[in-house]
Symmetry: none
Subunit: 212 residues, 4 copies
Amino acid sequence: MIPNTTFERLPEEKKERIMQAALMEFAEKGYAAASINRMVEKAGIAKGSVFQYFGDKEGLFAAVFAHSLEKVKDELRKVRDNPARTDIFTRLAQILHTGLDFTRTHPLIYRLYTHLLSTPDMPLRNFLLTRIRKEGKDFLAELLEKAADRGEIRRDLPMQEALFLLEALMDRFLLASVLPYLGEGFSDKKTMENHIPGFMDILEKGMGNKRP
Amino acid sequence: MIPNTTFERLPEEKKERIMQAALMEFAEKGYAAASINRMVEKAGIAKGSVFQYFGDKEGLFAAVFAHSLEKVKDELRKVRDNPARTDIFTRLAQILHTGLDFTRTHPLIYRLYTHLLSTPDMPLRNFLLTRIRKEGKDFLAELLEKAADRGEIRRDLPMQEALFLLEALMDRFLLASVLPYLGEGFSDKKTMENHIPGFMDILEKGMGNKRP
Amino acid sequence: MIPNTTFERLPEEKKERIMQAALMEFAEKGYAAASINRMVEKAGIAKGSVFQYFGDKEGLFAAVFAHSLEKVKDELRKVRDNPARTDIFTRLAQILHTGLDFTRTHPLIYRLYTHLLSTPDMPLRNFLLTRIRKEGKDFLAELLEKAADRGEIRRDLPMQEALFLLEALMDRFLLASVLPYLGEGFSDKKTMENHIPGFMDILEKGMGNKRP
Amino acid sequence: MIPNTTFERLPEEKKERIMQAALMEFAEKGYAAASINRMVEKAGIAKGSVFQYFGDKEGLFAAVFAHSLEKVKDELRKVRDNPARTDIFTRLAQILHTGLDFTRTHPLIYRLYTHLLSTPDMPLRNFLLTRIRKEGKDFLAELLEKAADRGEIRRDLPMQEALFLLEALMDRFLLASVLPYLGEGFSDKKTMENHIPGFMDILEKGMGNKRP
DNA sequence: CATGAATGAGGATTCATTCAT
DNA sequence: GATGAATGAATCCTCATTCAT
């Protein structure tokens, strides 16, 4: 479970090459169907090394996941540290944009996440899912709370449901950017940004505090 | 290519037993990781029979999917044929309730769908996804249009985005009812219904035409 | 081993259909690799019938072989009954032509024979091979003997070797007419006849009794 | 596609053991009916190794074939490099002897060749056949041409047909040495050599240039 | 520490044969 | 007598894992 330090000491380039190859396999095939054979060939390393570094397939998966989670956190930090003094809806729009940037740069990471979501017997599933969702959800929750404090959302807004809706939108929006056939007009990553204002319009009216 | 009629002629009980066992495997493991060995053991039939009935794994998957789609359609028919003369938001609430009933009765079918969504190299993925989504999405689209005609939603509602949001909520809501760890307060199927009014409140304000 | 009479009582058309389908399989794939599944599909009969008629795969093969042997005999009869009062070399040329006609009409039968030749563990191999070769070889042997009596071949001709050579030529010639890539200029069934005079020229000089 | 070097690096003894076991299977059963299970048991290696070495059954077959072809070439070299200053018929007799030596030492290789000849849907059939036949046929063709230049064969000899006849005799002669039931007096490898002079007698009269 | 050869369990699939209808 | 569903052994092949070099 605890990653061998051997892998850590590898040259950065090689580490990245291995992580990338593993991520590709897991993201495309899911955990069980992923083949270490294909991975090592892609990465150009010896098969034995995988087991030296990570113990077994599960350990490799955990490492890939942790590696990916770091990138997610980096991205989130960017948004969080944005000192933007704007209202929550502008903020949400920014987040969608950032999310889109993320799936554009790291489409495989998002696919990895969806596999985790949909496969009940994936090893470490619960552990990993709670870890990654904590990142995203806490962030949204905090956003909502602060907005409430600032009076940007209406008093009687059902918070739990609002949070759920935001997460649903976010997830589906990113999924559509990563996998085809989720709806005409949304299969194209390039034009997806055009929809963001529309979403904000609905959310603002549904959750906001503006007088008409 | 044309499905053998052998399977059709089986006694209903046996057919259902086989479909159920296959659905369990596919829903839990996804397509590639599903094991026909496990399935036939669960179903109590000979391994060779699977191939006599369905030709190959892909054929079996297609059959399971078709079988499941029928149940989805049955459910949708119930909602559609409901002659309810109510506004769209009451309707949406009904739909969420019905969806919850469905995932309660057929949790595996929904999991099957999520695998299809998240696995890019699933066989027949595009074909099957377009088929199943046509059912659901067309229904929601029609609902929105009629509501627009009746003036139940505001004139300037961005329709595409509204539709997307509804689908996202629907999907996520049902997913939460089927798989754990999507959020505290939502992991419990029994209490999920309590959230429906909250959702409707937000949607109505965001999309509706009511004067405050 | 003894063929069930059930098959004999079948309508001629059906019998022929079954034999033809079986011959195709055995000729193309050889005995072990032949599939009864494919055969019954081609023949459009029930799989169980094959076993009712012939007992098992081996019985079927024996029946196909017997059926084919009949056709060979028919063909040989044509040549034998030809009251041609010609010398042996004209006769041999006729035989090659007839053989070519035969492989043109029944290419599969010849392939069946080559499989039998080249597969050591084919069931009934020895029994069947001796049966079929008896037909051909005895005929050639008789031909040679009569020619010797008539003084058409030289006194000192080594008979065993001559017979062997004739068989070799015959077999190879027919094989080339049935399977490609045995030599440029011989892969084309249509032009093979042009080579016959050349062969006769060599044989006549090598075996004949003519004074230069 | 490119053959793994793993097999090449094996100890010679093991390589030979594997090749021998595989050759036995393929030679006895033909390609499709050959069983890798039986082979690995005979060779005493793990089943997985076969696929590590050769990729798949076809790759194994190609390797066995290449291995065998090398032995054929070695044998041919012996004959070719024989600086014998003799006429073509003495040469042909030598070749038959050498061929007999070869089938005595490597009977399976010749059987492999006959399967290739008689099985139309063997993988790589055309490719392999042209390769192996090039070796043998070119050699005979060259022999004939040189004999023509030296005036050892008659001017008006039909060359194509002569070549064909020589090949047919050669093939059939070797086949008889390897598989039983091709003719009494020829089924016995030990006495086959006795027939060679008889063949030469016929060929010399049929093709040669001697005045009686 | 890196390598890659060895292994056998398990994968999907095909098959000849049996037998109840 | 004809049918075709049921069966399980055997097919080729892939895989994660181990371990000697």
